[in-house]
Symmetry: C2
Subunit: 212 residues, 2 copies
């Protein structure tokens, strides 16, 4: 396991240096299955597609369903099928970077495989990790799966429109999160309904601009 | 990886032989984080606790929160903390079996770590795997994460009370599932509200009785 992680780290460092030299922000988006990563990307492409040159890497086990949903934005998308694998790694990312014109890209979103555990252990060479978690998963996720929340640069709490129909306790969620990562920005959003997305757009826009 | 899986399989066969000789049904419950495994176990202990001798193994990364929720049923519970590991394996199960009085047990529920991918590759020596998936994860889960749905003996579709507030399409879910595993029993339930649980109780009762 240590060897695997060491080799992954070396390649991740290469990827990070390359993207940094090209001034491309890379965001590694991690969540449980069905927390809303693809819908968030749909919204984000709609909002920021005219301001920035966006590329997407779609990590999926066996299908290209998420990529199909994003095709309508007419941006470069590459699918990586892990064929059963539970996370992306830096070698698979490095291989597909050739497919992008990095000189004409501002931001590369990587939608990792739906998994709250393994992807947080593999550096892809990203600028930072982004955690997406949905209210319907329960308020105990930061406490029970701390690794991702420790590593991430920001947290998007999705599906806040469903809180009235669940027993989700925001104070409990937020207090657990702060114990793990006291300064982390938290955006409360509904990707389907649009609530709270302005804060996310402003924040990610700042992050893209920081690269220049 | 092959070595790891081979060693896991040998120990799983041992576990399976032991439990079979003791006539204990072992159910390996697998789902995404927050799909409702613990609430299902709470309900099931309430309903079947007076008819059968139940034991529980709680797989969690670092906490004993789920076990705390189940303590009130006064049944034997053992926690396995994987310390970052993304799934249980047969060696960890084998080690804790000593803590149970197997001669006085009818069914052993194993709540695996919340992860739709890795746990489906590791045989624990269970009688069968049970897939729990919630409507709020979206209707595309069987298509996108087929391994578990191929392996499982039954599927519980949880949180059906939330369908009206989501874009979950039951026909699409069901048709994807049937392509992967055409004969698999599917129970539509709400563990919080109680909908559909009678079908699950009857089915699992039959499975427990088959061991004798």
């Amino acid at each position: 396991m240590k060897n695997i992680l060491d080799r992954n780290q070396n390649k991740a460092d290469e990827v990070r240096n390359l993207l940094s030299s090209k001034k491309v922000l890379m965001v590694n988006i991690i969540s449980s299955p069905g927390a809303g990563k693809t819908t968030l990307l749909e919204r984000t492409c709609e909002e920021l597609g005219s301001k920035f040159r966006i590329g997407i890497i779609e990590g999926d086990i066996t299908t290209d369903r998420d990529a199909q949903r994003l095709k309508k934005y007419n941006i470069p998308i590459v699918v990586i099928n892990t064929e059963g694998g539970c996370h992306l790694d830096s070698h698979s990312i490095s291989k597909v970077l050739d497919s992008f014109d990095l000189d004409n890209l501002d931001v590369l979103f990587v939608e990792n495989v739906g998994n709250l555990i393994c992807p947080s252990q593999f550096d892809l060479g990203e600028t930072f990790k982004l955690a997406v978690v949905s209210t319907t998963e329960g308020d105990d996720k930061p406490g029970k799966y701390p690794m991702l929340f420790r590593e991430a640069r920001a947290v998007l709490l999705n599906k806040i429109d469903l809180i009235p129909y669940t027993n989700f306790n925001f104070d409990s969620f937020s207090s657990d999160l702060k114990k793990i990562n006291s300064q982390i920005p938290l955006f409360e959003i509904s990707s389907t309904r649009g609530d709270g997305l302005k804060g996310w757009y402003d924040w990610i826009e700042d992050e893209i601009n920081k690269m220049h």
